[in-house]
């Protein structure tokens, strides 16, 4: 009888302890946040250490971002700070930044969702118009890479569809920039067969829409899209495991020697922060220093 009472008392104590601990710490953090923003007079009002979120090394988004922001050394090697948290796809990047108040990351503009906030870079907003007129400079091409001369008839027809007026219209509707404004219309070929595309997690969302539209016009076709990352997609194309490798960065010299790449769209890279972060505008110099690991606190971002 005594033991039962003791056991119940201990469990009750543990439950109360966890609940109190959780609620008191979250209360204290919200209290400190509100007093900080009230008393703080820096331009943005964001305080605390910066959580740098990056992509894995084979990511096309990372490759393009690092090159455009100048986060490279003299031999053009990626020198992102070693303290950066690594997320291995576009969606995990979005989830991580949405869940971490101190974080900063980068993601394809077309994949941007309301869970995160895209900041202006050097005062320019990340939008399709600003990329088109060249004022937002952080943009990179979407490419499909394939072995020249080894494409099946179905694959060639699919490529023609993507570059046609219908395909490019789908690209524009989804927040990307089409490559040719005066493309011809596409006529359904009625071919059948299977296509395999593998690669960038940034290209995949719009590629899925293109595939669905193509299948609506040619019902006997199956198209499989694997999201493995730009580097993996290019490797698969070189090995001949897939018909097209999707890449969100330019091909390297060694890759260009083996594959031909056609540009299907232009996409911006948005620099994202958590929705609760009051920062609206960051200079590209600051972004570079954050990713080099030289600026580690939000107060130092002027």
């Amino acid at each position: 009888m005594k033991k039962k009472i003791l056991a119940i008392a201990m469990t009750a104590l543990m439950v109360v302890g966890v609940a109190a601990c959780g609620s008191s710490s979250s209360n204290s953090t919200t209290d400190s946040n509100s007093t900080d923003t009230a008393a703080d007079t820096t331009a943005d009002g964001m305080t605390g250490p910066i959580s740098v979120i990056s992509r894995e090394e084979g990511s096309g988004t990372r490759g393009a971002f690092v090159e455009l922001m100048g986060i490279v050394d003299d031999s053009d090697n990626d020198i992102t700070t070693i303290d950066a948290e690594i997320t291995n796809s576009t969606s995990v990047m979005l989830t991580t930044v949405a869940g971490n108040k101190q974080s900063i990351g980068y993601v394809s503009l077309g994949s941007l969702s309301d869970d995160v906030k895209a900041v202006k870079v050097d005062g320019v907003e990340a939008s399709v118009d600003d990329i088109k007129n060249g004022s937002y400079s952080v943009s990179r091409p979407f490419l499909v890479a394939y072995k020249d001369g080894q494409l099946s008839e179905l694959a060639q027809d699919y490529l023609k569809y993507i570059l046609s007026a219908d395909g490019q219209a789908i690209i524009s509707e989804n927040g990307y920039i089409s490559v040719s404004d005066s493309a011809e219309a596409y006529t359904a070929s009625g071919l059948s067969g299977k296509l395999v595309l593998a690669g960038s997690t940034s290209v995949s969302p719009v590629m899925e829409k293109l595939a669905d539209a193509y299948k609506a016009l040619n019902p006997d076709v199956t198209i499989e899209i694997q999201q493995t990352g730009s580097g993996a997609g290019i490797t698969s194309a070189i090995e001949g495991v897939c018909d097209f490798g999707m890449s969100s960065r330019e091909l390297k010299e060694s890759e260009a020697a083996e594959l031909k790449a056609d540009q299907i769209a232009l996409d911006g890279i948005a620099v994202i922060v958590n929705n609760e972060n009051p920062t609206d505008d960051i200079s590209s110099e600051n972004i570079k220093n954050i990713y080099l690991g030289e600026v580690t606190n939000w107060e130092d971002v002027k």
Partner: protein, 284 residues
């Protein structure tokens, strides 16, 4: 030979062949890994590979020391959290649990064992990471988060094996100790647990093996920075995460370096298992 003896011999060969399958599988895995791994380690240099602190494949730097340290920290953390809880839970289930509660708890523990590791990863990402964020004010991913998650994952292994080995200890140990006047707690910890030591050690080593090899759950909660963690709250990358993050797009030397990482992992497990059998042999 009459037909019964013939059947016996045939079945003996059939069982022998199936036994050979498993041996052949292990040999093939070992041969593949060492054949691909050692040349890579030689090319990079054993010292540079095992003790190098920079992992930057783009610049041909393949030092896996931070990942070795990461694996060790995370596994040690998982052991610190998982072994006491698991062992004490096994003691409870064997000696203190009322029958009705036992009929409920035992299947639940078995269910824990069957949950896929990626589901544990999501659980960690959605529940444990925000708690760590609120309590410590950091990003939420790191050694502590990974240790807690892995500790929970190895609990069913430790509980089930420990419990069956505790139940297998002859009742005379327990009853004899009680008869000599010891309390129930002292009898359990000084007589039964000592008697079931080898079973409990197997449980711990099984848990250790699972913790060191766990990948998908750890990738989602550990942060994956390829640097030696400076504190319990810093991000960490384990040997297994390293392989998974980069294998899809690795080419040439990079890919061979990842296979060599798998070899290092394999050697770790071999060492742990050899230690266990040495300790067991010394017991008997």
């Amino acid at each position: 030979m009459n037909s019964n003896q013939l059947k016996e011999t045939i079945m003996k060969f059939v069982f022998l062949i199936f036994a050979c399958f498993s041996i052949v599988a292990v040999i093939v895995i070992c041969a593949f890994m060492f054949a691909n791994g050692f040349p890579a380690m030689a090319k990079i240099g054993f010292g540079n590979f095992l003790l190098g602190t920079e992992w930057r494949p783009g610049q041909n730097l393949f030092g896996i020391f931070p990942m070795i340290v990461g694996s060790i920290y995370v596994t040690a953390g998982a052991m610190i959290i998982g072994v006491p809880i698991g062992l004490l839970c096994a003691v409870f289930l064997t000696f203190y649990c009322p029958k009705k509660l036992y009929a409920f708890v035992k299947p639940v523990v078995g269910l824990l064992a069957g949950i896929p590791s990626i589901v544990y990863g999501f659980f960690g990402l959605i529940i444990i990471v925000p708690i760590i964020q609120n309590v410590f004010g950091t990003g939420g991913k790191g050694v502590l988060t990974a240790s807690i998650l892995l500790g929970i994952m190895i609990l069913p292994t430790i509980i089930e094996v420990s419990e069956s080995s505790l139940r297998a200890v002859p009742k005379q140990y327990f009853e004899g100790s009680l008869a000599l006047g010891a309390t129930k707690e002292r009898s359990i910890f000084k007589a039964v647990l000592v008697g079931g030591k080898s079973g409990v050690m197997s449980a711990v080593v099984l848990g250790l093996g699972r913790a060191i090899g766990e990948t998908m759950a750890v990738i989602m909660v550990a942060g994956n920075q390829p640097a030696i963690p400076k504190s319990v709250l810093s991000g960490v990358r384990t040997l297994t995460s390293n392989i998974v993050l980069e294998m899809a797009y690795a080419a040439d030397l990079h890919r061979e370096a990842l296979i060599a990482t798998a070899v290092v992992l394999f050697v770790f497990i071999l060492i742990i298992n050899i230690c266990l059998s040495m300790v067991k042999r010394r017991e008997s």
